[in-house]
Symmetry: C2
Subunit: 124 residues, 2 copies
């Protein structure tokens, strides 16, 4: 399924972090332990299926740990592994870089003609 055979570690990380969900999920999970339904509440635009898929991917990557509790309505908890926690500041650094760049002198001539992406009114 995901035997990454790329010569370059960067390619491998990007394979895991690419897409809109991985970093978002990590962002929410750094707040602490979350259950499946918590994460769905955190970002309501992710579909049930995507959430399972992405969580599985992060699990396989050793970023997230899944803990299943016996019980009536089956409870599962997700949390960052130590490696996952070490990843957080690196992701944050990217965010900082972006803020700095857009701030200073990056893309000046932004013809933001086709901006208008529908904002799904979720909030932080």
């Amino acid at each position: 399924m995901k035997s990454l055979v790329s010569r370059c570690p960067i390619e491998e990380v990007m394979q895991i972090l690419s897409g809109r969900w991985p970093t978002l999920l990590i962002y929410y999970l750094k707040q602490g332990t979350k259950r499946f339904s918590d994460l769905r509440r955190d970002n309501p635009t992710i579909s049930h299926k995507m959430l399972t898929l992405e969580l599985r991917k992060l699990e396989d990557a050793g970023i997230v740990e899944r803990t299943e509790f016996e019980g009536y309505p089956l409870r599962v908890e997700y949390q960052l592994t130590p490696a996952g926690h070490r990843l957080v500041p690196l992701i944050d650094a990217l965010g900082d870089w972006w803020e700095t760049t857009s701030d200073t002198s990056a893309h000046p001539g932004s013809t933001d003609a086709e901006a208008a992406v529908s904002n799904t009114a979720s909030r932080d």
Copy 2:
């Protein structure tokens, strides 16, 4: 153009860096100025369409600068902007993080089950 309407800068960066090409292209561009055809030679599996699209995206993001020279067979050169150069170590850090983590016995994506599934015989 960075007309991304997300509340979170991390989401915005990931929108740019997601996929297999952006970081690869940055990787090659950090070696210096490259022409379109150079980049195609650097990684021959990218199609000309993808290369133009990705370069355009990186340009809009202020990571890459495009210089067009007048002339017969039209020459165009690409190079990292200062912001692009500042991005490089951050990406490298992700690569380092991945190497470190995979080292500490995490998630080698190859559970024997799935290893059996895909034999990497003739894969592009």
